[in-house]
C-alpha cells in the first residue's frame, strides 16, 4: 500500500510538472499560469495528511525549481510547497466538511504558497521580486488556481485514494 501510494503520487507530480511548465504556459491569464503542482500537493495533503504531503511538497517543489525556464534560486518552490503541504494537511478535517470549506482551503493554500515563494525571493534577493509585484499577481493566481482546482482536485483524490472504495471527493 505505501509503495502503491508513492508510485501514484510520483506519477501525479511528474504529470503536473510537465503540464505546468509545458502546456499551461499557452493558457496563461495575464501571464499567470495555474499552479498545478501546488494543487496536487494540496490534494494529496487533504487525502493523506500533512507528513506525506510535506515530503511530496519538498520533492515536487525542487523539480519545479529546476525545470526550465525557471531562473530563480532553487529551493523557493520547495520551501513554499513543504509549508503548503503541511498546513493543508493539518486542516484536512475541516476542509472535508463541504465544498465551501474545500474552496476556502485551496484559496488559502494558494495564498500561503505564493506568498512564501514571493517572500523567499525577497529574502534571497532574487531580481524582479517586490511586494507590489507579488500583490499584483496574487489575486489572479488565487482565482485561477481555485477554478482549476475544481477540475484537478477530484482527479487527484480519485487517483490517490484508488485503493479505497469510499470516494466522497470524486463527486464533490
Amino acid at each position: 500500500m505505501p509503495a502503491l501510494r508513492t508510485a501514484v503520487t510520483v506519477v501525479l507530480v511528474v504529470l503536473a510538472v510537465s503540464l505546468q511548465v509545458g502546456l499551461l504556459s499557452y493558457v496563461s491569464v495575464g501571464g499567470v499560469v495555474p499552479d498545478l503542482v501546488l494543487l496536487v500537493v494540496v490534494g494529496v495533503a487533504l487525502v493523506h495528511g500533512p507528513r506525506h504531503a510535506a515530503v511530496l511538497g519538498l520533492l515536487a517543489g525542487l523539480v519545479l525549481d529546476l525545470a526550465p525556464p525557471a531562473d530563480h534560486t532553487a529551493g523557493r518552490w520547495a520551501l513554499s510547497l513543504v509549508i503548503v503541504g503541511y498546513l493543508s494537511g493539518m486542516v484536512r478535517g475541516e476542509a472535508r466538511t463541504g465544498a465551501v470549506a474545500a474552496v476556502a482551503a485551496v484559496a488559502a493554500s494558494v495564498f500561503v504558497g505564493a506568498s512564501v515563494f514571493g517572500l523567499s525571493g525577497l529574502v534571497v534577493g532574487d531580481p524582479g521580486v517586490s511586494v507590489p509585484r507579488v500583490l499584483e499577481v496574487l489575486p489572479m493566481q488565487v482565482l485561477l488556481d481555485v477554478a482549476v482546482a475544481v477540475v484537478v482536485l477530484p482527479v487527484v483524490f480519485k487517483l490517490s485514494r484508488a485503493p479505497q472504495p469510499a470516494d466522497r471527493w470524486a463527486r464533490a
Binding site: V21, G57, L58, P68, D71, S120, G128, V134
Partner: protein, 297 residues
C-alpha cells in the same frame, strides 16, 4: 481516517522542520555560487523536461495561433499595418542614419554590414514562457548544446534583440529576456552614438519597457531615437548593432542631472516565436568594429 493524535502531531512537526531546513539548505547552496551542484541538477531536469516542452509546443503552438487569429483579427490587422509602416520607416532609418551615417567611411559601412550578416545564427523556437508568478522573464527555446548554443550567447528575433542565453542544456536553452529586471544591456543611441545602459523593468506583455541611462550625464536622449546594442567584448553576451528599441519618453532628474530614457523594445515579448541565437560572429568584423569604436570615440 482517524484524526491525528498528539504524538502524530509532534513527529509531523519534526518532519516539517527537517523539510523546511532541507529547502533552505538548497536555497543557500544555490545562492552561494555559480558552480553549485544545483546547476548539475538543473541541467538534468532540463534534459528531461526539454523534450516534453518541445512536444507540447508542437501541439499547442498552432492551436494557440489559430485561436488568436479568430479572437482579434481586426486588431491584429490594424497592428500589422502599423507595424509594417513602422518597419519600413525603421529599415530606411537603420540603413541611412545613425551609426552608419555618422561614421561616414566606406570601410566602416562595410565592416558593419559584414558584421550584421557575418553572424553565425542558429534558429530556434520559443517553447515555454516563465509564468508571471515567478517574477523573472525567461523563456525556453528548443535549441541546446547539440546545436552549438552555449551560455551567454545573444538571442535575437526578426524585430531586434531578445535577450541572452543564461543556461544551455542538451536540447533546450533558457533565455533571459532583456525586459527582465536582472537584465542590463549596453545600448548606443543611433543619433549621436552616445552609450548607455538599458535595464529591464520585469513588466509583462506590451507594457514592457527598458530604462536607459546614458554614461555621459550631459547628453540627453531624444524621443524617437533608436537604441542599438553596444556590443560586449567578443560579442559575449551581446553582439553589437542589434536594434533594441526606440525612446518613448525622457525623464530628467534635476537632483543629479541625469536623464533616463524609457525605451520601447522592438520585440513583442509576449508573442515571441522564432528567434535566432548568435553562435559565432566573424572574427575580422569584430576587430573592425572594435577599432571603429575606438577611433570614433
Amino acid at each position: 481516517m482517524t484524526p491525528p493524535t498528539r504524538r502524530d502531531d509532534g513527529s509531523s512537526r519534526r518532519v516539517l522542520m527537517l523539510l523546511v531546513l532541507a529547502a533552505v539548505a538548497v536555497m543557500a547552496v544555490d545562492a552561494s555560487g555559480d558552480d553549485s551542484p544545483v546547476d548539475v541538477a538543473r541541467s538534468t531536469v532540463g534534459d528531461v523536461i526539454g523534450p516534453v516542452q518541445s512536444g507540447f509546443a508542437a501541439v499547442a503552438g498552432p492551436i494557440d495561433s489559430i485561436a488568436q487569429r479568430f479572437t482579434d483579427a481586426g486588431e491584429l490587422r490594424a497592428d500589422l499595418e502599423a507595424l509594417e509602416a513602422e518597419n519600413a520607416r525603421l529599415r530606411t532609418e537603420l540603413q541611412t542614419a545613425g551609426i552608419v551615417r555618422a561614421r561616414g567611411e566606406a570601410r566602416d559601412v562595410m565592416a558593419l554590414r559584414a558584421q550584421q550578416s557575418g553572424f553565425e545564427l542558429v534558429g530556434a523556437e520559443v517553447v515555454a514562457f516563465g509564468p508571471a508568478q515567478s517574477f523573472s522573464r525567461t523563456v525556453t527555446i528548443d535549441a541546446g548544446t547539440v546545436d552549438g548554443v552555449q551560455a551567454d550567447m545573444t538571442v535575437l528575433s526578426a524585430d531586434g534583440l531578445v535577450g541572452r542565453v543564461v543556461r544551455a542544456d542538451r536540447s533546450i536553452a533558457t533565455v533571459l529576456l532583456v525586459v527582465d529586471s536582472a537584465s542590463v544591456v549596453g545600448g548606443r543611441l543611433d543619433r549621436d552614438l552616445e552609450l548607455g545602459l538599458a535595464r529591464g523593468d520585469g513588466e509583462l506583455s506590451d507594457d514592457a519597457r527598458l530604462h536607459l541611462t546614458t554614461l555621459d550625464p550631459t547628453t540627453t536622449p531624444e524621443v524617437g531615437d533608436s537604441v542599438l546594442s553596444w556590443g560586449s567584448n567578443g560579442g559575449i553576451p551581446y553582439v553589437a548593432g542589434v536594434p533594441i528599441g526606440w525612446v518613448e519618453s525622457v525623464q530628467t532628474n534635476p537632483r543629479d542631472q541625469t536623464a533616463t530614457a524609457v525605451v520601447v523594445p522592438y520585440v513583442d515579448f509576449s508573442a515571441l516565436d522564432l528567434v535566432s541565437v548568435v553562435v559565432g560572429a566573424a572574427a575580422s568584423s569584430d576587430a573592425a568594429q572594435a577599432t571603429g569604436a575606438k577611433d570614433g570615440h
